[in-house]
């Protein structure tokens, strides 16, 4: 067996534990060195995993050497390797950004970041739905603590909502798992897909309820329409580097939706084929409307960034809900783009808040920024890619999604909403940019200049925008094959059932 696939989970776990040792925990410099070096190692591991997945090998790993339906298995296919790589890039940028001083505002910053990365990677790699729940809880409990890192009234009050909401979400997740185990008798995702096909009449309705409950939990994580109200406040109050890593959390929900919709409730699922697909489509359109209103009315840069996250969720789920191969492939491209650009914009908002005195990141005239030139350039690039203007990756992502939605009855709904969303983002960015950079008064306070490594961190994330549009060909080829691979698994789930090593 190839043990490489366990590293994205084991490595952050070990690094986090190592950093809890007093020798390292007491010395912030040592922690910084270990976590940045560790993030780079994780990045290398993820690239290796992606290269192995790109040559169409699916890495299957039977934990504890138990054969598939009985033991827990890890599945490293194209989709999960891609998402793991995305997490590693975010983690590196977030840790680099935090090492400029944000890590010192509270204790255990890096161990918690590592635990969170472990939970996210685990959720992407696992092939067992109960294990998915466990990794969800790991990433959640780390995120609860990271959210209140540094303390303060706003963080606490946002965290109360976030924690309670997610605890209820976990309870619903468990109810759904109980129902599904009761009717299907398995928790392995591939085995679930097989059992759904031979479900007898009396249990179809019950399984349907379980499946829809599962979908609603994932919709809560993904911030789909009626369940997205928690996001703006939570994301806007979290510390900058933390929220940069949070940018992938909505994608964990979307990933789970894609995984379950295309494996368990795929086209071969008989009565349960495409369960909830219509709901996703309608609610995603609703999410776009809400996010558009939110983007226009956002009072601060971080709120704007949070509403842009919801806008990207809406855009993504419109494509997922449409459910053709092309639209799914476009969604995967857009997911990578929106995660990186969204995280970068949160960090830019954090730098702006740091450099202006009392007005923080609110979009009002205030003291001049200490480094208006470099921040302005980053803001401009982020704005272009997030609005979806050529030549950067946002344009290609949005264009691919719109092109894939090609029947006239769906096009009438999706195209106007997607374009109005972009227009709203454009208006909001112009307003924010002109207020922040041009309507400033007072001498800039050069002692407030931000550390260079903060700009490097934002640069790493933003460099993806031109790179992703430069290499759009290979990337879309990769996502196309990813979707085909999902289809192959859907037709023959036994392909992703791990076998233990025979002795």
């Amino acid at each position: 067996m190839n043990h490489l696939i366990t590293l994205p989970i084991i490595l952050p776990l070990l690094l986090a534990t190592l950093q809890l040792l007093p020798v390292i925990e007491k010395n912030i410099e040592r922690q910084r060195i270990i976590s940045i070096a560790g993030s780079i190692c994780l990045l290398i591991v993820s690239v290796a995993l992606l290269i192995s997945a790109a040559s169409n090998n699916v890495t299957l790993y039977a934990l504890g050497n138990w054969d598939a339906p009985f033991g827990i298995q890890l599945v490293g296919d194209r989709l999960s390797s891609m998402m793991v790589l995305l997490t590693s890039i975010l983690l590196l940028a977030a840790n680099l950004y935090a090492s400029a001083g944000d890590d010192n505002q509270g204790r255990y910053f890096y161990p918690l970041m590592m635990f969170q990365a472990m939970g996210i990677n685990g959720a992407f790699l696992t092939g067992d739905i109960f294990n998915l729940f466990v990794f969800f809880e790991i990433l959640l409990i780390a995120s609860y603590s990271l959210l209140i890192h540094g303390g303060g009234k706003h963080k606490t009050s946002a965290a109360v909502h976030y924690v309670f909401l997610n605890l209820v979400g976990s309870a619903i997740f468990l109810f759904a798992l109980g129902i599904i185990y009761g009717t299907l008798g398995t928790l392995n995702m591939a085995d679930m897909a097989l059992r759904v096909r031979e479900l007898n009449e009396s249990e179809v309705q019950l399984t349907k309820i379980g499946g829809m409950m599962l979908l609603s939990v994932f919709a809560l994580k993904a911030a789909l329409l009626p369940l997205q109200f928690w996001l703006p406040r939570t994301y806007a109050s979290a510390p900058g580097p933390v929220v940069a890593l949070f940018a992938i959390m909505t994608k964990v929900g979307i990933y789970s939706i894609i995984r379950i919709q295309n494996l368990v409730f795929g086209d071969s699922a008989g009565d349960l084929a495409d369960l909830g697909q219509d709901w996703i489509w309608v609610l995603a359109l609703g999410t776009l409307v809400m996010a558009t209103l939110g983007v226009i009315s956002a009072p601060s840069v971080k709120r704007l960034a949070a509403h842009l996250v919801i806008l990207s969720v809406g855009t993504l789920l419109v494509a997922v809900g449409f459910g053709t191969q092309n639209s799914l492939s476009a969604a995967l491209y857009y997911a990578v783009h929106s995660t990186l650009a969204g995280a970068a914009f949160f960090l830019i908002g954090d730098i702006i808040a740091e450099q202006r005195e009392r007005s923080f990141d609110r979009i009002v005239a205030g003291r001049s920024l200490a480094q208006p030139m470099s921040i302005g350039i980053l803001f401009f690039v982020a704005a272009i890619t997030l609005v979806g203007m050529p030549p950067l990756s946002g344009f290609i992502g949005k264009f691919l999604i719109m092109k894939s939605i090609d029947t006239s009855s769906t096009l009438v709904w999706a195209w106007p909403l997607l374009l109005i969303g972009s227009l709203a983002a454009l208006v909001a960015f112009s307003r924010a940019g002109s207020t922040l950079f041009w309507r400033s008064n007072g001498k800039p306070d050069s002692s407030k200049a931000s550390a260079t490594r903060k700009f490097i961190a934002v640069g790493i994330l933003l460099s993806a925008a031109p790179l992703m549009s430069l290499f759009a060909g290979p990337i879309t080829e990769y996502t196309d094959t990813t979707v085909q691979q999902l289809l192959v698994f859907e037709q023959d789930p036994t392909q992703i059932m791990a076998k233990g090593v025979q002795r």
């Binding site: 109960f130 466990v134 809880e137 409990i141 609860y144 209140i148 303390g151 303060g152 009234k153 606490t156 009050s157 965290a159 109360v160 909502h161 924690v163 309670f164 605890l167 209820v168 976990s170 309870a171 468990l174 109810f175 798992l177 109980g178 129902i179 185990y181 009761g182 928790l187």
Partner: protein
Amino acid sequence: MELLISLIIGLLTAVGVFLVLRGRTFPVVLGLTVLSYAVNLFIFSAGRLVIDGAAVLKSGLATPDPVPQALVLTAIVIGFAMTAFAVILAIRARADLGNDHVDGRLPEQSGEQK
């Protein structure tokens, strides 16, 4: 037996949901706890109820499904940790915000809630 268990789960869920929807943090935490009890019982019964079965393995006796028992153990541990965190957070929120309302501020007309 089935009726009894399902009634208990239903009652616990109803109580849990009611408490979770309250405005103060303490009832909400209690509600989450009750809800997690309901969930645990529910998962436990997902492997079908067996009366007079063997505790582990014994030929001739019906054996209950061991998987839900393992699941419920995991769920209990996680639920316990999460409840502990929620309690600490609620105390912190009381200290930081000066009241124990989940929104961090008391509603305008809270005459009857005092």
